[in-house]
Symmetry: C2
DNA sequence: CTATAATCCTATCGGTTTACTAGGTTTTAA
DNA sequence: TTAAAACCTAGTAAACCGATAGGATTATAG
Protein backbone atom coordinates (compact mmCIF):
# COMPACT_ATOMS: atom_id res chain seq x y z
CA UNK A 1 0.00 0.00 0.00
CA UNK A 2 1.10 3.45 -0.92
CA UNK A 3 1.24 5.77 2.09
CA UNK A 4 -0.72 9.00 2.05
CA UNK A 5 2.57 10.81 2.26
CA UNK A 6 3.67 9.42 -1.09
CA UNK A 7 0.28 9.90 -2.64
CA UNK A 8 0.10 13.52 -1.51
CA UNK A 9 3.66 14.12 -2.62
CA UNK A 10 2.96 12.88 -6.12
CA UNK A 11 -0.22 14.92 -6.32
CA UNK A 12 1.63 18.03 -5.22
CA UNK A 13 4.40 17.53 -7.75
CA UNK A 14 1.85 16.97 -10.49
CA UNK A 15 -0.02 20.09 -9.43
CA UNK A 16 3.12 22.19 -9.73
CA UNK A 17 4.06 20.56 -13.01
CA UNK A 18 0.70 21.45 -14.55
CA UNK A 19 1.35 25.15 -14.11
CA UNK A 20 2.70 26.86 -17.21
CA UNK A 21 4.75 29.55 -15.50
CA UNK A 22 7.53 28.80 -13.08
CA UNK A 23 6.31 31.05 -10.31
CA UNK A 24 6.52 29.47 -6.84
CA UNK A 25 3.39 27.64 -5.76
CA UNK A 26 2.34 27.88 -2.11
CA UNK A 27 1.67 24.81 -0.04
CA UNK A 28 -1.60 26.42 1.04
CA UNK A 29 -2.80 26.56 -2.56
CA UNK A 30 -1.98 22.93 -3.20
CA UNK A 31 -3.47 21.92 0.12
CA UNK A 32 -6.78 23.59 -0.75
CA UNK A 33 -7.01 22.31 -4.29
CA UNK A 34 -5.93 18.78 -3.57
CA UNK A 35 -7.65 18.42 -0.19
CA UNK A 36 -4.54 17.75 1.80
CA UNK A 37 -3.92 18.81 5.37
CA UNK A 38 -1.66 21.82 5.07
CA UNK A 39 0.73 21.08 7.89
CA UNK A 40 1.19 17.53 6.73
CA UNK A 41 1.78 18.72 3.20
CA UNK A 42 4.36 21.21 4.40
CA UNK A 43 6.46 18.42 5.83
CA UNK A 44 6.22 16.51 2.57
CA UNK A 45 7.22 19.53 0.51
CA UNK A 46 10.18 20.02 2.78
CA UNK A 47 11.27 16.47 2.12
CA UNK A 48 10.86 16.90 -1.60
CA UNK A 49 12.98 20.00 -1.44
CA UNK A 50 15.70 18.35 0.59
CA UNK A 51 15.83 15.46 -1.81
CA UNK A 52 16.33 17.72 -4.78
CA UNK A 53 12.99 17.67 -6.56
CA UNK A 54 11.84 21.11 -5.51
CA UNK A 55 13.32 24.49 -4.84
CA UNK A 56 11.67 26.88 -2.41
CA UNK A 57 11.38 30.56 -1.74
CA UNK A 58 10.54 31.87 1.69
CA UNK A 59 8.43 34.85 2.65
CA UNK A 60 5.61 36.62 0.92
CA UNK A 61 5.08 35.41 -2.62
CA UNK A 62 7.24 32.41 -1.88
CA UNK A 63 6.48 28.79 -2.47
CA UNK A 64 7.84 25.72 -4.20
CA UNK A 65 8.94 25.20 -7.77
CA UNK A 66 10.33 22.36 -9.83
CA UNK A 67 14.06 22.23 -10.29
CA UNK A 68 14.13 19.84 -13.25
CA UNK A 69 11.84 19.48 -16.21
CA UNK A 70 8.81 17.28 -15.51
CA UNK A 71 9.86 15.01 -18.35
CA UNK A 72 13.12 14.30 -16.57
CA UNK A 73 11.58 13.21 -13.29
CA UNK A 74 10.95 9.48 -13.25
CA UNK A 75 8.33 8.17 -10.92
CA UNK A 76 10.75 5.57 -9.62
CA UNK A 77 12.81 8.37 -8.14
CA UNK A 78 9.85 10.08 -6.50
CA UNK A 79 8.53 6.90 -4.95
CA UNK A 80 11.92 5.79 -3.70
CA UNK A 81 12.36 9.07 -1.86
CA UNK A 82 8.89 9.29 -0.37
CA UNK A 83 7.94 5.65 0.09
CA UNK A 84 11.22 3.79 0.15
CA UNK A 85 11.79 0.52 -1.72
CA UNK A 86 9.68 -0.33 -4.74
CA UNK A 87 10.20 -4.04 -4.17
CA UNK A 88 7.71 -5.88 -1.99
CA UNK A 89 10.45 -7.67 -0.10
CA UNK A 90 13.77 -6.16 1.03
CA UNK A 91 15.74 -9.13 -0.33
CA UNK A 92 14.87 -8.19 -3.92
CA UNK A 93 15.26 -4.44 -3.50
CA UNK A 94 17.87 -2.77 -5.68
CA UNK A 95 18.19 0.37 -3.59
CA UNK A 96 17.23 -0.85 -0.12
CA UNK A 97 18.52 -4.40 -0.08
CA UNK A 98 18.35 -6.40 3.13
CA UNK A 99 18.87 -10.08 3.67
CA UNK A 100 15.97 -12.06 5.11
CA UNK A 101 16.95 -13.63 8.41
CA UNK A 102 14.75 -16.66 7.87
CA UNK A 103 16.04 -17.47 4.40
CA UNK A 104 19.29 -19.50 4.14
CA UNK A 105 19.50 -19.29 0.35
CA UNK A 106 17.85 -16.66 -1.80
CA UNK A 107 18.43 -18.62 -4.97
CA UNK A 108 16.12 -21.41 -3.91
CA UNK A 109 13.53 -19.21 -2.21
CA UNK A 110 10.13 -19.37 -3.89
CA UNK A 111 9.05 -15.96 -2.65
CA UNK A 112 12.28 -14.40 -3.84
CA UNK A 113 11.86 -15.63 -7.40
CA UNK A 114 8.31 -14.38 -7.59
CA UNK A 115 9.04 -11.00 -6.08
CA UNK A 116 11.86 -10.33 -8.52
CA UNK A 117 9.34 -10.61 -11.33
CA UNK A 118 6.90 -8.31 -9.59
CA UNK A 119 9.63 -5.81 -8.89
CA UNK A 120 10.76 -5.77 -12.50
CA UNK A 121 7.23 -5.28 -13.75
CA UNK A 122 6.71 -2.35 -11.38
CA UNK A 123 10.08 -0.83 -12.19
CA UNK A 124 9.21 -0.97 -15.86
CA UNK A 125 6.00 1.02 -15.38
CA UNK A 126 7.36 3.50 -12.86
CA UNK A 127 10.54 3.99 -14.83
CA UNK A 128 8.88 4.83 -18.09
CA UNK A 129 6.40 7.23 -16.51
CA UNK A 130 7.68 10.71 -15.82
CA UNK A 131 6.07 13.54 -13.92
CA UNK A 132 5.14 14.99 -17.30
CA UNK A 133 3.14 11.88 -18.22
CA UNK A 134 1.45 11.86 -14.86
CA UNK A 135 0.62 15.53 -14.81
CA UNK A 136 -1.08 15.67 -18.18
CA UNK A 137 -4.81 15.59 -17.70
CA UNK A 138 -7.05 12.80 -19.01
CA UNK B 1 5.79 -4.28 1.52
CA UNK B 2 4.75 -7.86 1.79
CA UNK B 3 3.87 -8.81 5.36
CA UNK B 4 5.65 -11.73 6.99
CA UNK B 5 2.32 -13.44 7.20
CA UNK B 6 2.00 -13.52 3.42
CA UNK B 7 5.62 -14.42 2.93
CA UNK B 8 5.40 -17.32 5.39
CA UNK B 9 2.11 -18.42 3.90
CA UNK B 10 3.57 -18.64 0.41
CA UNK B 11 6.62 -20.49 1.69
CA UNK B 12 4.44 -22.97 3.51
CA UNK B 13 2.26 -23.61 0.48
CA UNK B 14 5.34 -24.08 -1.67
CA UNK B 15 6.79 -26.46 0.89
CA UNK B 16 3.69 -28.62 0.80
CA UNK B 17 3.50 -28.45 -2.98
CA UNK B 18 7.05 -29.75 -3.33
CA UNK B 19 6.17 -33.00 -1.61
CA UNK B 20 5.41 -35.83 -4.00
CA UNK B 21 2.91 -37.68 -1.83
CA UNK B 22 -0.25 -36.13 -0.54
CA UNK B 23 0.22 -37.07 3.07
CA UNK B 24 -0.58 -34.27 5.52
CA UNK B 25 2.35 -32.06 6.42
CA UNK B 26 2.63 -30.82 9.99
CA UNK B 27 3.01 -27.17 10.82
CA UNK B 28 5.93 -28.10 13.08
CA UNK B 29 7.82 -29.60 10.14
CA UNK B 30 7.31 -26.53 7.99
CA UNK B 31 8.15 -24.26 10.88
CA UNK B 32 11.49 -26.00 11.42
CA UNK B 33 12.48 -26.22 7.79
CA UNK B 34 11.46 -22.72 6.84
CA UNK B 35 12.47 -21.00 10.08
CA UNK B 36 9.05 -19.70 10.96
CA UNK B 37 7.66 -19.29 14.47
CA UNK B 38 5.38 -22.27 14.92
CA UNK B 39 2.53 -20.52 16.67
CA UNK B 40 2.48 -17.76 14.13
CA UNK B 41 2.55 -20.28 11.31
CA UNK B 42 -0.33 -22.18 12.86
CA UNK B 43 -2.55 -19.13 12.60
CA UNK B 44 -1.56 -18.66 8.98
CA UNK B 45 -2.27 -22.29 8.11
CA UNK B 46 -5.65 -21.96 9.71
CA UNK B 47 -6.41 -18.99 7.52
CA UNK B 48 -5.28 -20.85 4.42
CA UNK B 49 -7.53 -23.71 5.35
CA UNK B 50 -10.54 -21.50 5.99
CA UNK B 51 -10.04 -19.78 2.66
CA UNK B 52 -10.05 -23.07 0.79
CA UNK B 53 -6.40 -23.59 -0.15
CA UNK B 54 -5.66 -26.28 2.37
CA UNK B 55 -7.41 -29.18 3.99
CA UNK B 56 -6.38 -30.33 7.43
CA UNK B 57 -6.40 -33.43 9.53
CA UNK B 58 -6.29 -33.25 13.27
CA UNK B 59 -4.58 -35.54 15.73
CA UNK B 60 -1.57 -37.80 15.43
CA UNK B 61 -0.34 -38.06 11.87
CA UNK B 62 -2.43 -35.09 10.96
CA UNK B 63 -1.38 -31.94 9.20
CA UNK B 64 -2.22 -29.87 6.15
CA UNK B 65 -2.57 -30.84 2.52
CA UNK B 66 -3.37 -29.08 -0.71
CA UNK B 67 -6.92 -29.28 -1.94
CA UNK B 68 -6.26 -28.26 -5.54
CA UNK B 69 -3.40 -29.02 -7.88
CA UNK B 70 -0.46 -26.61 -7.47
CA UNK B 71 -0.80 -25.66 -11.13
CA UNK B 72 -4.30 -24.43 -10.48
CA UNK B 73 -3.43 -22.09 -7.64
CA UNK B 74 -2.65 -18.62 -8.94
CA UNK B 75 -0.49 -16.39 -6.82
CA UNK B 76 -3.01 -13.59 -7.18
CA UNK B 77 -5.47 -15.67 -5.15
CA UNK B 78 -2.97 -16.49 -2.44
CA UNK B 79 -1.85 -12.91 -2.02
CA UNK B 80 -5.37 -11.55 -2.00
CA UNK B 81 -6.32 -13.84 0.84
CA UNK B 82 -3.23 -13.31 2.97
CA UNK B 83 -2.23 -9.77 2.15
CA UNK B 84 -5.38 -8.17 0.82
CA UNK B 85 -5.40 -5.94 -2.24
CA UNK B 86 -2.69 -6.25 -4.86
CA UNK B 87 -3.15 -2.63 -5.90
CA UNK B 88 -1.10 0.02 -4.15
CA UNK B 89 -4.10 2.28 -3.71
CA UNK B 90 -7.64 1.19 -2.78
CA UNK B 91 -9.16 3.30 -5.55
CA UNK B 92 -7.62 1.07 -8.22
CA UNK B 93 -8.23 -2.22 -6.47
CA UNK B 94 -10.43 -4.70 -8.31
CA UNK B 95 -11.28 -6.80 -5.27
CA UNK B 96 -11.00 -4.31 -2.44
CA UNK B 97 -12.12 -1.06 -4.01
CA UNK B 98 -12.52 2.03 -1.88
CA UNK B 99 -13.01 5.60 -2.94
CA UNK B 100 -10.39 8.10 -1.86
CA UNK B 101 -11.96 10.79 0.28
CA UNK B 102 -9.58 13.46 -0.94
CA UNK B 103 -10.13 12.80 -4.62
CA UNK B 104 -13.16 14.40 -6.30
CA UNK B 105 -12.60 12.72 -9.67
CA UNK B 106 -10.66 9.56 -10.22
CA UNK B 107 -10.49 10.07 -13.96
CA UNK B 108 -8.33 13.15 -13.62
CA UNK B 109 -6.23 11.92 -10.73
CA UNK B 110 -2.57 11.56 -11.61
CA UNK B 111 -1.91 8.96 -8.96
CA UNK B 112 -4.87 6.92 -10.07
CA UNK B 113 -3.68 6.68 -13.65
CA UNK B 114 -0.22 5.62 -12.61
CA UNK B 115 -1.37 3.07 -10.09
CA UNK B 116 -3.66 1.37 -12.58
CA UNK B 117 -0.61 0.67 -14.70
CA UNK B 118 1.34 -0.68 -11.74
CA UNK B 119 -1.59 -2.83 -10.71
CA UNK B 120 -1.95 -4.32 -14.17
CA UNK B 121 1.74 -5.09 -14.37
CA UNK B 122 1.65 -6.85 -11.00
CA UNK B 123 -1.54 -8.71 -11.84
CA UNK B 124 0.06 -9.97 -15.00
CA UNK B 125 3.00 -11.48 -13.15
CA UNK B 126 1.05 -12.83 -10.19
CA UNK B 127 -1.69 -14.18 -12.42
CA UNK B 128 0.56 -16.16 -14.68
CA UNK B 129 2.55 -17.67 -11.83
CA UNK B 130 1.00 -20.64 -10.08
CA UNK B 131 2.06 -22.43 -6.96
CA UNK B 132 3.60 -25.05 -9.23
CA UNK B 133 5.88 -22.48 -10.87
CA UNK B 134 6.85 -21.07 -7.52
CA UNK B 135 7.49 -24.39 -5.86
CA UNK B 136 9.81 -25.79 -8.51
CA UNK B 137 13.36 -25.32 -7.39
CA UNK B 138 15.84 -23.11 -9.30
C1' DC C 1 -8.65 -46.43 27.97
C1' DT C 2 -4.89 -43.55 27.93
C1' DA C 3 -1.07 -40.94 26.38
C1' DT C 4 0.36 -38.23 22.84
C1' DA C 5 0.33 -35.51 18.83
C1' DA C 6 -1.67 -32.58 16.18
C1' DT C 7 -5.00 -28.75 14.82
C1' DC C 8 -7.94 -25.13 16.48
C1' DC C 9 -9.22 -20.99 19.02
C1' DT C 10 -9.04 -16.60 21.70
C1' DA C 11 -6.73 -13.17 23.80
C1' DT C 12 -3.02 -10.22 24.60
C1' DC C 13 1.03 -7.42 23.96
C1' DG C 14 5.16 -4.65 22.87
C1' DG C 15 6.91 -2.26 19.16
C1' DT C 16 6.60 0.31 14.97
C1' DT C 17 4.47 3.09 11.63
C1' DT C 18 1.13 6.36 10.04
C1' DA C 19 -1.12 10.53 9.56
C1' DC C 20 -1.52 14.00 11.46
C1' DT C 21 -1.52 18.36 14.97
C1' DA C 22 0.64 22.02 17.77
C1' DG C 23 3.36 25.64 18.31
C1' DG C 24 6.39 28.01 17.15
C1' DT C 25 11.03 30.44 14.34
C1' DT C 26 12.88 32.48 10.34
C1' DT C 27 12.86 34.83 6.08
C1' DT C 28 11.09 37.90 2.61
C1' DA C 29 8.19 41.13 0.02
C1' DA C 30 5.19 45.00 0.03
C1' DT D 1 6.55 47.19 9.97
C1' DT D 2 3.42 43.86 8.89
C1' DA D 3 1.94 39.87 6.85
C1' DA D 4 2.81 35.81 4.39
C1' DA D 5 5.26 32.24 3.47
C1' DA D 6 8.68 28.35 4.36
C1' DC D 7 11.06 25.95 8.02
C1' DC D 8 11.65 23.18 12.24
C1' DT D 9 10.76 20.16 16.38
C1' DA D 10 7.95 17.63 19.03
C1' DG D 11 4.23 15.01 20.23
C1' DT D 12 0.23 11.84 19.74
C1' DA D 13 -3.79 8.85 18.85
C1' DA D 14 -4.78 5.09 16.26
C1' DA D 15 -3.78 1.26 13.63
C1' DC D 16 -1.06 -2.54 12.38
C1' DC D 17 2.46 -6.18 12.83
C1' DG D 18 4.60 -10.11 14.46
C1' DA D 19 4.46 -12.59 17.46
C1' DT D 20 3.36 -15.18 22.31
C1' DA D 21 0.38 -17.50 25.82
C1' DG D 22 -2.55 -20.81 27.16
C1' DG D 23 -5.27 -23.62 26.48
C1' DA D 24 -9.55 -26.67 23.97
C1' DT D 25 -10.48 -30.11 20.75
C1' DT D 26 -9.75 -34.11 18.02
C1' DA D 27 -7.58 -38.25 16.34
C1' DT D 28 -4.30 -41.99 16.44
C1' DA D 29 -1.44 -45.64 18.52
C1' DG D 30 -0.66 -48.81 21.86
Amino acid sequence: MLSKKTKYGIKALAYIARKKDRKPVQASEISENENISQKFLESIMLELRKSGFLGSKKGKGGGYYLIKEPGEIRMTAVIRVLEGPIAMVPCVSLNYYEKCDDCPDENTCSVHKLMIQVRDASLQVLGENTLEDIASLQ
